[in-house]
């Protein structure tokens, strides 16, 4: 603490001295902007809503015009007068702002700045990058020189290069996240060639562990998790995207492509499955399914999360501040926020995921391997071929129909109102013992319950619905390969904004409406088959509204095709004019519960309140138009046939032919049967394919609005896709969508993309970025300690073709990176965060590295890339306990640990792994006693120590100093010195003595973890070796990279 205080004093002194000193030129960005930003911009900045006295100080012309600044004349500037004032009504900042006074030094700085002309500069991070200088020098040496100059200015010098043991350990963790093996160390330390270091770098960059290490940081940015988060926090499968990230890093996919594919892979021409998979990046936010939540509220939250993640990841800006108002400090307006919002909302999604089914929310990509794809294609082609043959057959049967119709003369007028394929008919006329009769299947009755009542109907009685009570029918669980039809009479008492007439489903949003349904929506009938509303469904809606207070005969049919044109809606016997609302059904409509037809009500939906339904009929085939007319006219279909072929319109003729095919023609019946069977086969195969949430751009943009205070209900001005004006211009020929947005980002003129990315990579190596606030490059963020280093690396990164491996190599090859991490006391104390880079990087390893290090040191680590997440032991101690995975699941690298947001792995949280609720650009690094408890007592670590103990015991054949040396090499990547050997030998002997006297205790200790114990080692020795190994795994140098 004392050193901190001392530091603060030193820093303050430095700040005090700097700007006031005589003729020093005041830098706006360095000296003035921080003052204005902290003390003035809140009320006199970019936010027009909050602006006081119509004065803005972030704009030179405006500040001069208002008289706040009188150029070259500080004493005649209102700004200076106000900050000096002691009059409570005049002084700035006003006492009510509770910002305190400006210090005398700050006032001097402002005066000097005005005196020198009050020159404004664009915020440093918004100034475009200069191209690399024309020089033969490597970028590596350019950055070393820049750092040297900076050190010299501060009277500091670089530390000598670290020793080889330290270097290989540092490099191995930085590039692969794993410790070097004793063999690797031996090879490197004994390789005396000048290229040894570079060879090591190259080797590490080509290992598959490299991609895993790089993926961890990206998963934090992308808020990757294996569950939806929020309250219900169901698990979901997004890991194929995680594997995509690992592959992308290992293949060294150029960062501009990496970024473009994740933002807009679906919009690339001829997008591949992998490119679409990459867009899952935008769907990794938390999602809600809590009962009673408002769908639109959460949809807006999701889109805002995408905007925030995009802005933090690629722009390093706190864009989310502009959700509710213009940004207080950075030139981002609220309108511009919603212009980005417009780009990220344009998918067919729901704000809630389904509670009763486990389908991924739409839009989803069906992930197939080559064999599955081939099989699906073949099945689809088979169906299409049968459909095509159906057309030919139909043409051929026309002549047969013509002949047939002539033979039907007298019998046609026969009353025959029973139609083929009728499965049930509920006249809804009377209740007997609470039951409603079924005239087709007398034993399948419906039950009248609750507030639903029998009232006079269109014929006899009808049911009037309370809106809160369901009328369940004992049938109706149709699959999407099965043609079926429903007919009914209905009457609505008023114009329904939304009402459920009938449906087969468990619930509305809680089951994503899976099933089928006839609704009244905005006063119109809407007939739909749904796997997951809204993105996976077929749906048609009548153009004309339902008349109020009139009986209407409605027949709806479906042909088994999974296409919107396979849906038909008849009103009063005639095909209704309809709009196609959705036409994308690729998965099953059954499952999720609610397997029967229900009338008048649905779980957490709006019922058919006071609506009437009469004569409800269900058919196991697609009724034809002629039959729909017959039902309405209450005559037989046959009676509508005309034998006089010359006098009839073609339309009627076609209807009659269709009816003939559907009910009489045996060839057609065979065809339909084959078609249905082949569809069943195809759909079944397709249903088994797993889906993953991705982006799929809608053809028409959804309208976007400024949301007042960011609230979903408060729509204001309409806005259109766009990017902030203060940054580089939107490329002229780019589309106004996510793809254009990606192109805008990767334009070499863009001031932020490369800087933000390079800074994060730097941060991963040095523990802090050149800009310390990796998440905020705005005017409230930190300034870069070495702007020229950041800009040189960024320009080099772009000119290399966004080559990430090369960027890493450029940095790790530098002397700045390779220097010793420990300097003399003064340097350590003066610059504890190593801002000036007078020493090499040094910081505690990440949660993942600490666990992977223990597993690797013990030889337990399973290095298999990718696949579903696994449960290590610690998940059994999680807030939502889960049993440890079987097999080698407990020994996989930590990035494969199942990440449940409400029950994240507790030991990893103890080591500051973020919860992944939102995008995280920088991890914290704290030290707490809970960490010691994890490493000392956690099952994973005790087991690792046990196995490590066995290894070193066997390696050294029980020789204690030999064991210690082997353990040091494995855990600390170096050999012990004499005093270390002595301490550990004493510890080992003490423990051995104890365990010899307490063999039952030793037995217990050796049972921890599932790795088998090597019975060749005596119990007491094995237990003592375990404790020895624990000391090494808990050693400071085991958990800190130096």
């Amino acid at each position: 603490m004392k050193t901190c205080v001392l530091n603060v004093v030193l820093m303050l002194t430095a700040m005090l001295v700097h700007p006031v000193k005589g003729a020093d030129r005041v830098s706006f960005n360095h000296d003035v902007r921080p003052i204005l930003s902290d003390k003035c911009f809140f009320c006199h900045g970019p936010d027009s809503e909050r602006r006081e006295a119509d004065l803005r100080l972030d704009d030179r012309a405006a500040a001069i015009e208002a008289g706040a600044i009188n150029v070259n004349k500080p004493d005649a500037s209102e700004l200076i007068r106000r900050v000096l004032s002691t009059d409570e009504d005049e002084q700035m900042p006003p006492p009510s702002a509770k910002l305190g006074h400006l210090s005398p030094q700050e006032i001097e700085t402002l005066k000097a700045w005005i005196e020198q002309g009050a020159v404004y500069e664009n915020h440093w991070a918004f100034v475009p990058l200069k191209p690399l200088p024309e020089t033969d020098q490597s970028v590596t040496s350019l950055i070393d020189e820049a750092v040297e100059r900076g050190l010299e200015k501060r009277g500091l010098t670089r530390q000598p290069e670290a020793d080889r043991h330290t270097l290989i350990r540092r490099l191995s963790f930085d590039l692969t996240g794993l410790p070097p093996t004793p063999e690797d160390i031996e090879t490197f330390v004994s390789d005396k060639s000048p290229e040894a270091y570079e060879h090591l770098v190259d080797r590490l960059l080509t290992s598959t562990a490299y991609g895993e290490k790089m993926a961890v940081d990206w998963l934090d940015i992308a808020r990757y998790a294996d569950s939806y988060g929020f309250q219900v926090d169901r698990e979901r499968e997004m890991w194929p995207w995680r594997d995509w990230v690992i592959r992308a890093f290992n293949e060294n996919k150029p960062f501009d492509q990496f970024l473009t594919e994740q933002l807009a892979g679906d919009l690339l021409p001829d997008a591949t499955q992998d490119q679409i998979l990459a867009t899952a990046f935008n769907r990794l936010h938390q999602q809600e399914s809590e009962g009673g939540s408002v769908e639109e509220e959460y949809r807006v939250e999701y889109v805002c999360d995408r905007v925030q993640t995009f802005a933090t990841a690629f722009l390093g800006l706190t864009f989310e501040c502009s959700r509710c108002h213009d940004h207080k400090y950075d030139p981002i307006t609220q309108k511009e926020y919603y212009q980005l919002f417009a780009m990220f909302q344009n998918i067919d999604e729901a704000g809630l995921y389904s509670f009763f089914t486990n389908s991924p929310p739409t839009p989803a990509l069906e992930l197939t391997d080559a064999a599955t794809r081939e099989r699906l294609d073949a099945l689809q082609q088979k169906v299409e071929a049968i459909e095509k043959s159906g057309k030919e057959l139909k043409a051929a049967r026309a002549a047969v129909f013509d002949e047939w119709v002539k033979t039907q003369s007298e019998s046609l007028s026969e009353e025959k109102t029973t139609l083929p394929g009728e499965l049930a008919r509920f006249p809804l006329d009377e209740v007997t013992g609470g039951k409603l009769a079924n005239t087709v299947q007398a034993d399948q009755l419906a039950t009248l319950a609750g507030g639903n009542q029998i009232v006079p109907g269109r014929t006899g009685n009808a049911v009037q619905f309370s809106g809160d009570d369901a009328l369940n029918l004992p049938l109706g669980n149709f699959g999407r390969h099965e043609p079926f039809s429903v007919s009914l009479w209905l009457q609505t008492p008023d114009v329904k904004d939304r009402a459920v007439v009938f449906h087969r489903s468990r619930a509305w949003t809680d089951a994503a409406s899976r099933g089928y349904e006839l609704l009244i929506e905005e006063g119109r009938l809407k007939w739909s088959l749904i796997h997951f509303w809204p993105g996976n469904a077929i749906s048609i809606r009548a153009v004309d509204p339902v008349p109020v207070g009139e009986w209407l005969q409605v027949t709806v049919t479906y042909d088994g095709s999974s296409r919107a044109d396979g849906l038909t809606l008849y009103v009063n016997g005639q095909p209704a004019r309809v709009d196609v609302i959705k036409d994308n059904l690729t998965k099953e409509i059954t499952g999720g519960g609610g397997d029967n037809i229900t009338l008048g009500e649905r779980f957490r939906d709006r019922g058919f309140k006071e609506g009437l339904i009469d004569d409800f009929r269900v058919f196991g085939r697609e009724l034809t138009a002629l039959e729909a007319t017959a039902i309405h006219d209450e005559v037989s279909a046959e009676s509508l046939l005309s034998v006089d072929e010359n006098s009839e319109a073609t339309e009627d003729r076609n209807q009659q032919f269709e009816w003939y095919l559907s009910t009489i023609d045996e060839e057609w019946a065979k065809h339909l049967k084959t078609l249905q069977e082949s569809r069943a086969e195809w759909y079944q195969a397709a249903d088994g394919v797993k889906g993953i949430m991705v982006m799929r751009e809608l053809p028409e943009p959804k309208p976007a609005y400024v949301l007042f205070r960011g609230e979903y209900t408060q729509r204001r001005e309409e806005v259109f896709a766009g990017t902030p004006a203060a940054l580089s211009p939107f490329p002229e020929d780019a589309p106004r969508n996510r793809l254009g947005l990606a192109q805008w980002l990767i334009d070499p003129q863009h001031p932020l993309t490369a800087r933000v990315t390079v800074n994060r990579i730097w941060q991963s190596l040095f523990g802090r970025g050149i800009v310390q606030t990796a998440e905020d490059f705005g005017s409230q963020g930190a300034r870069p300690s070495y702007p020229e280093v950041l800009d040189t690396l960024s320009a080099g990164f772009i000119s290399s073709g966004w080559d990430v491996k090369q960027l890493l190599k450029t940095i790790v090859m530098s002397q700045t990176y390779r220097q010793r991490s420990i300097a003399d006391k003064k340097v350590m104390e003066d610059d504890p965060g190593n801002e000036w880079l007078a020493r090499g990087p040094r910081f505690r390893l990440s949660a993942e590295m600490i666990r992977d290090n223990a597993l690797a040191s013990a030889g337990l680590l399973v290095q298999r890339t990718g696949g579903p997440p696994v449960n290590p032991y610690e998940l059994s101690e999680s807030f939502k306990p889960a049993a440890a995975s079987g097999g080698d699941g407990v020994y996989r690298r930590s990035l494969y640990t199942r990440w449940r947001r409400t029950g994240p792995p507790p030991a990893m949280i103890a080591f500051d792994a973020p919860r992944r609720a939102v995008c995280t650009a920088k991890r914290e690094r704290t030290d707490s006693p809970l960490q010691a408890l994890v490493l000392l007592n956690g099952e994973q670590y005790v087991e690792a120590a046990r196995v490590l103990g066995e290894h070193v015991y066997l390696e050294a054949d029980g020789d204690v100093p030999g064991m210690i040396e082997a353990g040091f090499l494995r855990c600390l990547s170096r050999r012990p010195d004499a005093s270390e050997v002595e301490i550990l030998s004493a510890l080992y002997r003490e423990q051995l003595e104890y365990f010899r006297q307490h063999s039952e205790g030793a037995e217990q200790l050796l049972k921890i973890g599932r790795a088998p114990r090597d019975a060749a080692i005596p119990v007491a020795e094995a237990a003592a070796a375990t404790v020895l190994a624990q000391a090494l795994l808990n050693h400071d140098a085991s958990v800190v990279k130096r």
């Binding site: 603490m1 509770k98 309250q231 009962g291 009673g292 939540s293 408002v294 706190t318 501040c321 400090y329 809106g467 809160d468 957490r604 709006r606 019922g607 309140k609 006071e610 905020d776 409230q780 420990i822 006391k825 350590m828 504890p832 040094r842 101690e877 807030f879 409400t902 994240p904 030991a907 500051d912 919860r915 609720a917 914290e924 704290t926 030290d927 707490s928 006693p929 809970l930 010691a932 408890l933 000392l936 007592n937 956690g938 301490i983 550990l984 004493a986 510890l987 003490e990 423990q991 307490h998 205790g1001 217990q1004 200790l1005 049972k1007 237990a1023 404790v1027 624990q1030 050693h1035 400071d1036 800190v1040």
Partner: protein, 483 residues
């Protein structure tokens, strides 16, 4: 003398760390024995309190799910005449409903079926049928009948109540307290969370670490959740076969090695690590003592009831809060679940009240007897209220109630809260506030005030902004609630 006799001599932690046998460097040892250590956030916030706090610690009893205010504390006798009549549109007034009942065709009023009577000198009308014990403390309690929030679903509502923001991820009240005041005991965290198990587990809401995260505050201010089953703190116990005395030796050995490391490299973080292990060891000694309630007197169990002896019950949890408070833990957050009474209020309310009635009374009595009530703030309440109209079936004897954000009742006691105050009034339907609203921002401002902070100046810089618990919209300390 053998090594193992030595062990027994060193059983107590005082001997261990002060007995001169420690291998830890004397500087490190000195810092350990000093009053402050940064490991658990004992260092003060940027300013410490702004003025002398009235409350030195907080016990916050959160009733997860949202208790029905009109069945417990917001007496509405007039509703008996409204039985099964629709809530007037003029009262509902366009109110946003959850989608659980927004599709409902009718909104019939469900009067409370429980008996109310006046309690204490203050004359608080409350459900004395189910809360007879708590009623005895009516004059110690500051009743707030006019809390209100914007959120209508659990997740955002709990987040709003605890962090000031509906979107989870901000620091919660306990983290702010830890950040501002630090810990009063170097062996225990400043902010502890306890999740009680209700006797009826019909409909529990998910509770998890996201609710007590430190948000943008440093991670050490996150709540440490004590577990009701297994180890109270993750991995607090040594692996089987390793007694504490033996562990002591390995930590000594480890710290000896780390000390060499420190001598060699002079990295201050190594010193921190040495302290970290010693504190972990001390916690291993102090936590079992803390959680061992068998040492409590017969009187205690008479006061809290026999349930207090069963691990995980609300009574047991509340007893634990007193033990934590005694030991200097700054903020103790308790969750008690299953208050989400969408249906069957008649069946569920009695067992919920039975869970909490006696323990709440006992806690206030116990704190008072120990002279701790004056500087311990006890808070009770849920994340929102419930509707006067029924959700689902209505009868005189039973009904359900949906979420209602516009008004609900909370109470505070001790720690500067003014006992016997009855603050705020709602309309006849307990639907809208007609007098003295307390928005959750005001509630936060008031609690911070009791802890010695001006909520407008109690900030943390994050993303370029001075962030505060009460956010950007106006918030007021309600002086009427304060002694």
């Amino acid at each position: 003398m053998s090594l193992f006799e030595n062990f027994s001599e060193l059983q107590t932690r005082r001997q261990f760390f002060a007995g001169g046998r420690s291998i830890v460097g004397s500087a490190a040892l000195a810092s350990l024995l000093g009053p402050a250590s940064s490991l658990f956030g004992s260092e003060a916030g940027p300013s410490g309190p702004h003025f002398a706090p009235q409350a030195k610690r907080v016990i916050y009893l959160h009733m997860v799910g949202g208790p029905a205010q009109m069945d417990l504390f917001d007496y509405k006798p007039g509703m008996q005449d409204w039985y099964d009549k629709d809530l007037p549109e003029s009262i509902r007034n366009g109110q946003r409903l959850t989608t659980m009942t927004s599709g409902q065709a009718r909104f019939p009023v469900a009067p409370s079926k429980f008996k109310f009577s006046q309690a204490g000198e203050c004359g608080m009308w409350m459900n004395t049928e189910l809360l007879p014990n708590l009623a005895q403390k009516a004059d110690k309690i500051c009743w707030m009948r006019s809390l209100n929030t914007e959120a209508i679903n659990h997740e955002p509502a709990i987040a709003a109540l605890q962090t000031g923001n509906q979107v989870t991820g901000r620091p919660c009240l306990g983290s702010w307290a830890s950040y501002g005041l630090g810990a009063d005991n170097e062996n225990l965290p400043a902010f502890v969370v306890l999740v009680a198990v209700p006797s009826n587990r019909d409909q529990e809401q998910a509770i998890s670490g996201r609710l007590w995260s430190a948000g943008y505050l440093p991670g050490k201010h996150a709540g440490v959740s004590f577990r009701s089953k297994g180890d109270p703190i993750l991995y607090i116990n040594n692996p089987p076969g390793v007694p504490q005395a033996l562990r002591q030796r390995s930590i000594e050995g480890l710290n000896q090695l780390n000390n060499i490391n420190f001598q060699q490299f002079g990295d201050p973080e190594t010193q921190t690590r040495i302290q970290q292990y010693e504190m972990a060891f001390r916690m291993q000694a102090s936590v079992p003592e803390l959680t061992d309630i068998t040492q409590e007197s017969k009187h205690t169990f008479e006061l809290y009831g026999e349930e207090a002896a069963k691990p995980g019950t609300f009574a047991n949890t509340v007893l634990m809060t007193r033990r934590l408070a005694e030991r200097g833990v700054r903020f103790i957050q308790v969750y008690h679940n299953n208050w989400d009474h969408h249906s069957n209020v008649a069946g569920r309310m009695p067992s919920q009240c039975k869970d909490i009635d006696r323990p709440c009374y006992a806690l206030l009595e116990d704190l008072e007897q120990r002279g701790m009530l004056d500087d311990t703030l006890v808070i009770w309440g849920g994340e929102f209220g419930r509707t006067i109209y029924t959700q689902g079936k209505l009868s005189r004897e039973n009904y359900g109630r949906d979420h209602h954000p516009r008004c609900f009742t909370m109470w505070m006691a001790g720690g500067g809260a003014k006992g016997g105050t009855i603050y705020g009034e709602t309309d006849d339907f307990s639907y809208n506030i007609v007098k003295d609203p307390v928005h959750i921002r005001d509630f936060h401002a008031t609690i911070l005030h009791l802890l010695g902070f001006d909520h407008e100046r109690f900030t943390y810089k994050y993303q370029g902004l001075e962030q505060k618990l009460t956010g950007v919209l106006p918030a007021h300390v309600i002086n009427e609630l304060i002694v």
